[in-house]
Symmetry: C2
Subunit: 340 residues, 2 copies
DNA sequence: CTGAAAGCGCTAACAC
DNA sequence: GTGTTAGCGCTTTCAG
């Protein structure tokens, strides 16, 4: 457009209301300390002039902002989205706003957002990352911006974290398969370089070992999407009866959904011939063709816990009993693994 | 923790490097105007001291920030998430960062984020909202913060927007059903108070009228999730042959997926007895039990277009040829509507 | 309860 | 190429 908008600042409001700048500021920050009459005049001037408080000036003076950052690898992932829900609700109660940033799993972008938020002087950060970033967060923390690591347990006691016990989740899934009678169990998923995947496999192995008799076949498969499940299932259907697993632990629900669909369509009974358990309990698991049993991580609670931890570090609430919160996921049994 | 971190500012860096503040600032903003030797000393001081530029000061001085806001009703919606992808990539190219905020469909939260971002002096906003907010955006624009309305066509020429022609999408879906021989078509979805839903129905009606012979039954159903599709399908299965539609246009894919699954399981042939077309082309459409035909809105392009429009309003790029961009969605035919 | 004034950290003139 | 300096808009002592 090109024509400049005359800036309306606290000074203009003061002039219009016939008071001093200080009084306007008081009105904005401590409304109770301003006489009712002037308050009304000021409010009216604000409305008439369309005054919007300039955060840069405010923050510069205050020395800190009133927002927190939430950095995730993928906003569209229902897991992170649900956490965000809890985070925002709780943050709002504490008078804080949440800015979300999407690293897209790209370390460079994650890094630049970390910088950006630190430059912006956010009060704190919630960081979900598949990478090892404790050192980075420690440096940032050292400069005055605290953070909570979300989704992986921090190794340093100085770094608060909220995570899920994936070893336990993997154990629960496979233990359940063993309990319903499966003996030849397959683990579908990858890559093991992802901590969560490795942990789930670890738990699965533990359950196998404990059973004494069951066996575990690892079917490495990526990416962890529905189509991959279809492919693996097709391969399984092609096997001779004896070589086919009678129980499958899919490292996430997308794989599980793909597996179940193709197996069932291909004439392999689910759960009669092959029982399947997924992980994450996304919405589609419950509504898939054969409803999929799944390991359910805590959702809303998780976000609330993360922000509560951050608030306590900020000194807004009493200090946390424990700086590493680890949630144990539950098993949700549905038809894909119900043999009665 | 409680112990204060001694702030490291541009002044401390200058002192440590033995240069003046101005030179450090130049180094930060116009690196080419600083001698190589001092540049090295400054860089070293920055690293050693862990200097982080304070955005509040910078922004206060500059008068504007270097970020843009993207406000969405629901980050986890793959549609908005994919847009975000394009938005962030393009914004980064232009040296801008993107802050995402989640209104959760709550008008109050949307409003407070609008305020927040305006106070933060973002360069511009991308706003996706189911509500009517043109007036609000006009006021904000009047104070100097431009915006692009995403997902609905703005009525004012002064308000840039990027949207999808849902009337056309609805028309294409039903026209396709008619073309493959359907005569008794059902529209499944709601509520009509949502603009997009109403538009899709409008397009559907147009196609019906044009056919001359086909009929349209409106089956109002909410919410637009898989489970609702299951419910509607169950009702349809219970109908006598003649009263059952031979073609269904589901207002979104979730409904479509639910419909297809329950119909097929319930012994109603898809697409032989009932053809189904969904809308949105989410990932699950392609991978559902009977792959679902769908109307596919542009995804990445959409985000790129939105930000390009914003950049042009900001004067970063040549003025846009047209301030309202309307994309026409495509039809993707899959098995749920393939009668050869 | 109200006003005056200092200064938060940074950048961009402007002089040198 | 480099240093000096004047504020950007706001909040908050501190007097009155």
């Amino acid at each position: 457009m090109g024509f400049e908008v005359p800036r309306v600042g606290i000074r203009e409001v003061a002039a219009a209301a016939g008071v001093s700048m200080g009084t306007v500021s008081h009105f904005l920050n401590h409304p109770d300390r301003v006489s009712e009459e002037k308050a009304k005049r000021i409010q009216e001037a604000i409305d008439r002039l369309g005054f919007v408080r300039n955060n840069a000036g405010r923050q510069l003076r205050l020395g800190h902002s009133t927002t927190i950052a939430y950095i995730v690898p993928d906003v569209s992932n229902p897991f992170f989205a649900t956490i965000a829900e809890g985070v925002e609700r709780r943050a709002a109660q504490a008078g804080l706003s949440v800015f979300v940033a999407n690293s897209g799993g790209d370390p460079a972008r994650e890094d630049s957002y970390l910088d950006l938020f630190e430059e912006h002087g956010v009060r704190g950060m919630l960081v979900a990352s598949p990478r090892a970033i404790e050192d980075r967060l420690a440096a940032i923390r050292g400069r005055g911006t605290p953070s909570v690591l979300v989704g992986q347990r921090a190794s340093s006691p100085a770094q608060p974290s909220v995570s899920i016990d994936d070893v336990s989740g993997g154990y629960t899934a496979v233990r359940h398969l063993v309990d319903i009678g499966c003996q030849q169990i397959a683990f579908v998923g990858g890559p093991l370089s992802i901590r969560q995947v490795a942990d789930r496999l670890q738990g699965a192995s533990d359950a196998i070992r404990e059973s004494g008799s069951a066996t575990l076949e690892i079917i490495a498969s990526e990416p962890r999407v529905i189509a991959t499940g279809h492919k693996v299932a097709a391969e399984l259907i092609g096997r001779t009866q004896g070589r086919r697993p009678d129980g499958i632990f899919a490292v996430n629900d997308l794989l599980g959904i793909g597996l179940v669909q193709t197996l069932a369509t291909g004439g392999v009974g689910v759960p009669e011939e092959v029982a399947v358990v997924g992980y994450d309990d996304i919405e589609y698991a419950e509504n898939s063709f054969v409803p999929l049993s799944s390991i359910r991580p805590p959702h809303e609670d998780f976000g609330v816990a993360a922000i509560d931890l951050l608030l306590s570090v900020l000194g807004e609430t009493p200090p946390p009993p424990e700086s590493h919160l680890v949630f144990t996921p539950d098993l949700v049994v549905r038809r894909s693994s119900s043999r009665s």
